[in-house]
């Protein structure tokens, strides 16, 4: 069996707000093998970003906390690590690409300095001269001219800014890269360029990657396995083949696929999922999807379904038992 770079077991995360406790992640199980790419798919509020922030241990202080569960990074339990220990892991073992390239760069620091900062913090032993050389190498790698490292973020276009953010995340050659909607803010032609580049770099560094997205098209092109999240739980996961071609699916997955306009077919109407995402402060009993589910059974209303396994394919639904 292949070694696992990331293993999340029965993770619960909640945020404490004025309106009550937000149950963002509710018993999440995830595994990622070395060198693979996992696509984490779900709509706004499904808990995708919270999951990644828990792995990075960047949940907002005081408000957000892990209440239960373990996160194993490369076999080591990082759930209870102290901040100083975690700081050593960030950048080298695990690193993150944030969602919005426009706001995740510091506007008053030159691009070169921002990339150098990552190296100074996490690989100080390199020395100043080596860090400078390394910045040039990294810029070249993501397809930017090294002469431009003295420029500031506002002088770059959105696609270029995202390349810089990716360069920063890969600067220390992390073992695991968490990419939170890296291409959502980009135009399709630029998105294609950036995805192609990320795939290439992932192979060069043999990095494992977790790609968060709501776009099932992007997943089909870049990932090896897929996990679909709804209301803080993984409701279906498996290899690309399991999710895209197998016969059985969670009703939510089916709804998600039906909502996407199909370019190859001529249907006039779309068939969306009825209703809205449940409020995470007040989740429904039983299966969280039951109020929107077209195939809702009686048992769905009060009992949370267990995961049914078909080889690599896992579905959490009462229809499959």
């Amino acid at each position: 069996m292949k070694k696992k770079i990331l293993e999340i077991k029965d993770l619960y995360v909640e945020y404490i707000t004025e309106d009550g406790i937000v149950h963002a992640v509710n018993g999440l199980n995830l595994e990622l093998e070395k060198g693979q790419t996992l696509g984490l798919v779900g709509e706004t509020g499904a808990g995708k970003t919270t999951t990644v922030l828990s792995i990075m241990k960047l949940l907002p202080e005081q408000i957000g906390r892990i209440t239960k569960g373990t996160i194993l990074l490369d076999g080591n339990n990082i759930t209870d690590l102290r901040e100083t220990e975690m700081q050593k892991l960030r950048g080298n073992a695990v690193s993150m690409i944030f969602q919005d390239p426009m706001t995740s760069l510091n506007p008053v620091l030159s691009v070169g300095d921002q990339i150098a900062e990552v190296l100074e913090l996490h690989q100080a032993e390199l020395g100043k001269k080596r860090i400078d050389e390394r910045v040039d190498e990294i810029l070249d790698m993501v397809g930017l001219q090294k002469e431009r490292k003295v420029e500031y973020p506002h002088q770059f276009s959105g696609g270029m800014k995202q390349r810089i953010v990716i360069a920063m995340a890969l600067a220390c050659e992390p073992k695991l890269l968490l990419a939170d909607e890296p291409t959502t803010a980009l135009d399709v032609t630029i998105q294609a360029q950036v995805l192609e580049m990320m795939n290439r770099l992932k192979d060069t560094f043999s990095t494992s990657m977790m790609l968060i997205t709501h776009d099932l098209g992007v997943v089909a092109q870049t990932c090896d396995s897929v996990a679909i999240m709804y209301a803080g739980r993984v409701i279906e996961q498996g290899t690309l083949k399991d999710i895209y071609t197998a016969g059985r699916h969670h009703p939510y997955t089916i709804g998600l696929f039906n909502s996407i306009p199909d370019l190859t077919k001529d249907t006039k109407r779309l068939s969306p999922i009825k209703g809205l995402m449940p409020d995470p402060i007040n989740l429904p009993n039983g299966c969280a999807f039951h109020p929107r589910c077209p195939e809702c059974l009686d048992v769905c209303r009060y009992e949370m379904p267990e995961e049914s396994c078909y080889g690599t394919h896992k579905i959490r639904c009462h229809l499959y038992k």
Partner: protein, 315 residues
């Protein structure tokens, strides 16, 4: 042939900037017949939103004509413009920024009714607001709620109800579903198609997402740096794209299927600045089929098939 409901002739909008003129909309000629939808597609910065706003004169055009029902509305004074806006409405892109946070849902939808003096008295207004909310699928209990209490999909429904309140004939839809999740996006698209059928609405549907317009449009115009580079009936454009930019745009859409393979046709480079563009085809620097004619003069608009126009030297 009957007069198209909306027509633009040589519509231009140049913005003056420190470094010269920014050609946001450059010589756009479109026609939309009543009850039809024209999809306008392009990447950020291609001028599609400016086009939508210029048509409604929310931005004054630099040159050109906009005809509504055969009359050039550019010549209208302020008073007749207010009157004609009853017939021409807009749904904005961002359902978070386009609603006044200090007004309740009911007040937001009622506002155009007061401005255009459509309903008389409070009772009639209230009834109209309720029936509009029902049309767009908003529960009555939200009437006294404020926009921040609602999610993106419901907010976009408010935007649609507000646009519909004055019984318009023509609506500019400026990326109405881009800010929404896919399952909600499909709900809103279905709603807009139903409303079009019931009320014989005409849409100018602006979006960056080619897969969205395919469903809703009769005709599609592809824009690049202020120019319309290709215009064709919806089916024709998807089955037989001719302009290299349209081809690249179509092949860059990630398709949620396995057998489609990886993207082959990735175009290089990024969109150039629309400020003082160089002569010739604006797509030339990124075009894989560039030849020497492309940088000399602007290519002529050719009709290669019935109603299928391409702006490219290849044809």
């Amino acid at each position: 042939m009957s007069v198209p409901l909306l027509e633009t002739k040589g519509l231009k909008k140049y913005f003056k900037t420190k470094n010269g003129f920014l050609h946001a909309v450059d010589d756009i000629n479109i026609k939309i017949d009543e009850g039809n939808t024209l999809g306008v597609v392009g990447e950020s910065g291609c001028g599609k939103s400016t086009l939508g706003r210029t048509i409604l004169r929310l931005i004054e055009p630099t040159e050109g004509e906009v005809s509504f029902n055969g009359k050039n509305i550019i010549e209208y004074n302020r008073k007749s413009m207010v009157a004609i806006r009853e017939k021409m409405q807009i749904i904005f892109q961002d359902p978070y920024a386009s609603l006044n946070p200090r007004m309740t849902v009911g007040e937001i939808i009622a506002e155009p009714l007061y401005v255009c003096k459509i309903t008389k008295g409070k009772k009639e207004t209230n009834n109209r607001v309720r029936s509009l909310m029902e049309t767009v699928g908003l529960a009555e209990r939200y009437e006294n709620a404020y926009p921040h209490e609602l999610d993106g999909g419901r907010r976009q429904r408010i935007g649609i109800a507000r646009a519909l309140s004055v019984n318009p004939k023509f609506i500019v839809c400026d990326e109405p579903v881009s800010a929404l999740d896919v399952s909600i996006q499909a709900q809103i698209l279905n709603l807009m198609m139903d409303l079009q059928e019931e009320q014989k609405l005409t849409y100018l549907f602006i979006t960056h997402d080619l897969s969205v317009v395919k469903h809703i449009s009769d005709e599609i115009a592809v824009m690049y740096l202020g120019k319309c580079v290709e215009k064709a009936p919806s089916k024709e454009l998807y089955s037989n794209p001719k302009h290299p930019y349209t081809q690249a745009l179509l092949s860059a859409i990630p398709i949620p299927k396995l057998d489609q393979g990886k993207i082959v046709n990735i175009i290089k480079g990024e969109v150039l600045s629309p400020i003082n563009p160089a002569p010739g085809c604006r797509f030339a620097p990124r075009c894989p089929y560039i030849n020497k004619d492309c940088t000399v003069a602007e290519p002529p608009l050719c009709e290669i098939n019935e109603n299928h126009f391409v702006l490219c030297t290849l044809y």
